[in-house]
Subunit: 115 residues, 2 copies
């Protein structure tokens, strides 16, 4: 058997599509450098934004991770990107926390699942 | 500093959008049960399909993982889904390997990156 508690925590509960996904793939630099606290704060802050639907995130032991956040529409993504505290986090992410990242913004059109 | 080799291996090299993403979030059951070998085989087989652009994947120690595969169009996704050997893997995934999964098919519209 697996981890039902982990499962409940990890999966986002989302409405029917269409909605938007921001797929963030990243390679962390070595060392924390304030990253974990900021990541937690950004998830908390994002979840308070209009149009935020949920997020799923995982990072492997070698520092490669994928976070997918889900949003009602492109306007809510643009708004979140412009939030001042998030802009400071983006700046530090670029300078300090990420060796490399790729962000892909996509419109979710259909889904299926096993639950 | 981080892991340049890991970084090169993890990131997909993709064309300019638009293209499609299949976002596969999953919670593994306990035990391998043939999973690792099949996962490796499916990535190899997928990469031989027409329209396959690349994939990025990470799984945490608690068994939650995200794999995003990228495809030229919806027809190539539908074709891959119907490949016989993949259908058998899908069946076993549903029965044996995944406690839960969510699949979201999305059209990638724009990207940005740090490289």
């Amino acid at each position: 058997m697996s981890q039902p508690d982990a499962s409940r925590e990890h999966f986002a509960t989302l409405p029917e599509p269409p909605y938007y996904a921001v797929i963030f793939s990243s390679q962390r630099t070595a060392g924390d450098e304030g990253y974990e606290a900021m990541a937690e704060r950004m998830l908390s802050l994002a979840s308070q934004q209009a149009g935020f639907l949920g997020a799923e995130s995982v990072r492997g032991t070698d520092g490669f991770g994928i976070t997918v956040s889900y949003w009602h529409d492109e306007a809510s993504i643009a708004h979140w990107r412009a939030v001042a505290e998030h802009q400071e986090a983006q700046r530090l992410g670029h300078q300090r926390w990420y060796e490399r990242f790729e962000i892909r913004v996509a419109r979710v059109e259909r889904t299926r699942s096993k639950r």
